[in-house]
Structures are given as C-alpha cells and as structure tokens.
C-alpha cells in the first residue's frame, strides 16, 4: 500500500504509518524525501504531534501488581494517569521544557524529555533535578518525544540497583508515539532507601532489551538511534 495520495502527497493513513514507524524502508525514504520538499505535508506531520489526547476513562487502565521486589510499588495507575492528563492537557504547572503543550513542540537535542510528577492532594507537582522526595511519595512520569519508538523508564538508586518503572510489569520496552507530553500509565512509590534517586528514560527507534537499557542507565554507551534523559531527585531522610 502506498503512503501517498493520487497527487503524490502523504495520505492520512500513510502519515499515521510513517509516524508510527510502520513503513518499509523504501517507503520511509520516499516519505522523507517528500517531506523535505513539501511544506503542507510537513505541517500535517507537526499537527500529528499536537493532536490533543482524549482523557482516559478509568476502566481503561488495568491495575498492576503491587508487590515489586525492588521496593517501588506500582499503585493507583489510573488515578495518577488521570491527574497527569488533567495537569498537562489542562495547561497546569507541568510542561515539557517549559513549553505549554499547545504552544510548540520543541525538545532538547536528544528529542526526548522526562518529567517526574509527584501526586499531591491538589493534583500533581512536577519535580526537577535537585528536588527532594520522601519515602511514600507517589510519583508518575510524563515523556515528550519527537519520534515514535520504544521506551523504558528506569529507577537507579544510590547503591546502583536498577528497577523498571515503565512499562509496569513489562519485560520489554513499550511502544511510544511522538508527542510533546505523554503521561505514562505507571506510578511508583518512593521507598526509604537512602541517597539520590535517578530516573532514566530511554527511547530507541528500534526495539531493545531491558538488559541493554539497564546498562545504559548505569553509564553504558548509548546505542545508535537511542535518546536518554534523566531526572535526579534527592531522598530526604525519614
């Protein structure tokens, strides 16, 4: 199936397939060539990144097992995801690189951003590197990505222990679409282990193993076609 219309522009379905990385290598190259020369189609691609999401219904998200061996318990996934959606789509305090979601779609050079958000009684509080968390804090994640691909979010404690936060319960990276602020269906609770807590997001164009992601999280080389972002939070003593 061609990704082009009869007059050689990108079709709606072709555009969706391209954004999702589902085109053949040959079609991918043709689309890239077309986009370099066709501004209307480029604008349509940008519009895809700005598509407002639809607030999730509570029944859509399934709870994940609470007993994790690594001391971070997944909890309240649907509730936290709903809060994140409300905060980010409603123009709340949490934004990617300081941008309002509707105002632009510019990420840092890596094309990936990671925002850690703490659930509060009032909603959600975005956290930046250097901020403090306490044992028991409920945390969620929002990523921005200029490209679709495969994503994991890992937690690395001061002792070098690496745990998977997203996908919850997953044994492989999850597919992710391009978007400026994508709330992840994952929530964790901070444990009482001492020291800094690093959260590392890794997105690659192609699928990859969790083993290689863990290696990157502790300082390993970043593979080609991958982007990495991290947030480092301080753990307050109980």
């Amino acid at each position: 199936m061609s990704p082009f219309t009869r007059d050689d522009h990108l079709s709606d379905l072709g555009l969706e397939m391209w954004v999702a990385g589902e085109l053949s290598a040959a079609d991918e190259a043709r689309v890239q060539g077309h986009l370099s020369a066709c501004e209307p189609c480029r604008l349509r691609v940008e519009a895809v990144a700005h598509t407002p999401l639809v607030p999730a219904r509570p029944t859509v998200a399934e709870p994940v097992p609470a007993n994790r061996p690594w001391g971070w318990a997944a909890l309240g996934v649907a509730a936290v995801a709903a809060v994140l959606l409300a905060v980010f789509l409603g123009g709340g305090p949490g934004r990617v690189d300081g941008e309002r979601p509707g105002d632009g779609y510019r990420l840092k050079g890596s094309g990936l951003s990671l925002q850690v958000v703490r659930a509060t009684a009032e909603g959600a509080e975005p956290l930046s590197t250097g901020d403090s968390i306490r044992a028991g804090d409920r945390l969620g994640f929002v990523v921005g990505s200029t490209r679709p691909g495969h994503l994991v979010v890992l937690a690395v404690d001061a002792g070098g222990q690496v745990d998977v936060c997203y996908p919850p319960g997953g044994d492989a990276p999850a597919a992710v679409e391009a978007g400026p602020a994508l709330p992840l269906d994952a929530a964790v609770r901070a444990d009482d282990s001492p020291g800094d807590q690093r959260f590392v997001a890794l997105r690659c164009d192609q699928g990859f193993s969790l083993a290689s992601a863990r290696a990157v999280a502790v300082g390993g080389a970043l593979p080609d076609g991958c982007a990495r972002e991290e947030v480092v939070l301080s753990k307050e003593r109980p």
Partner: protein
C-alpha cells in the same frame, strides 16, 4: 507498506487505547469537530470492544482501526440528523476539508451523495474523494481488488451524474 510482522490479535484494551488513541482521534477529526469529536473517539473504542473479535490480523492494528473509525463516523453521520444543529453551531465539519483540493465530484460527494448511496460505496467515496487514496490502496485496505474499486467508483460517478441532473 508494513515491514513488521502483522499481529494476529488485538492487544488488551488498555494498551490498545494508549497506543492508538492518537490515530483514532485524528481520524475522527476528519468527520467531527470538537467538542463532539471527543465523544466519538470513546464511541469508537467501545465499538472496538464489540467488534474486536473480527480482527483477523490481515492488516496492521492501525490500518484496521482506521477502517473501523471511518465506518463508525459514516454511520453516525448518516443516522444523526439532529447533528445539523451542531453543524450550524460549530461551523463546517472537518471532513468538508479534504486533504486534496476538492474537485467538483468531491464537492458533490460531500454535500449529498454519501447520504444516498449504500454504506460500502460511501466508505469507498471517503477514501477516494476525501483521503485522495489510490484505487489499488483502497482495494488493499478493504480486501478487494483494485478492479472492484474501479467498478464501484464508476457506480459512484453515475450516481453523481444523476444527482447533478436532478439538481439542474
């Protein structure tokens, strides 16, 4: 067009929603403006829960959802005359803005023809006139030959000519 192995079953509902709400939202946007579009998106996913068993893995999930969403929007528009009030309140529906410069046949199709032809023909008309897809690609999407699509489009053209004659 697809290089990845095609799935044989739909993913679980939560994953399906998370991964594909964007493509459904954009497709619905061809037919409905906000605020109605948000409702239609949820209707599509409810519909998917009902008809998901019909997914045979002959296409990618994205392509299948594209088709399910198109059909749902067409049926919904056809069955909802009351939405003329919304049309008047919120202006022209998004699908009156096809991705190509509209031809006279496209205008005829959008203004009146899609309401009177059978659902399958209306769907083919959307792919051809609104989406600008090629006949072979429409055939691949619907699982029929390009020749069949050509014949159906000829039927559509005859209906358009008849409609124009009635209008003159």
């Amino acid at each position: 067009m697809t290089t990845a192995a095609l799935p044989t079953a739909l993913p679980p509902a939560d994953e399906l929603y998370r991964r594909y709400v964007g493509v459904v939202r954009r497709r619905v946007g061809r037919f409905y403006d906000d605020p109605e579009a948000a409702d239609v998106v949820h209707e599509v996913f409810e519909k998917v829960l009902q008809v998901g068993h019909s997914f045979r893995g002959g296409s990618s999930v994205r392509t299948w959802l594209y088709q399910v969403t198109t059909r749902h929007c067409l049926v919904r528009r056809r069955n909802a005359r009351r939405r003329r009030e919304l049309f008047e309140a919120y202006g022209a529906p998004a699908w009156s803005l096809p991705i190509r410069d509209p031809s006279a046949e496209t205008v005829t199709f959008l203004n009146q023809l899609w309401r009177t032809v059978d659902p399958e023909l209306a769907e083919i008309g959307v792919y051809y006139y609104v989406d600008g897809m090629r006949q072979a690609d429409i055939g691949e999407l619907l699982g029929v030959s390009g020749r069949t699509i050509s014949n159906r489009l000829a039927t559509l053209a005859e209906a358009a000519a008849a409609a124009a004659k009635e209008g003159s």
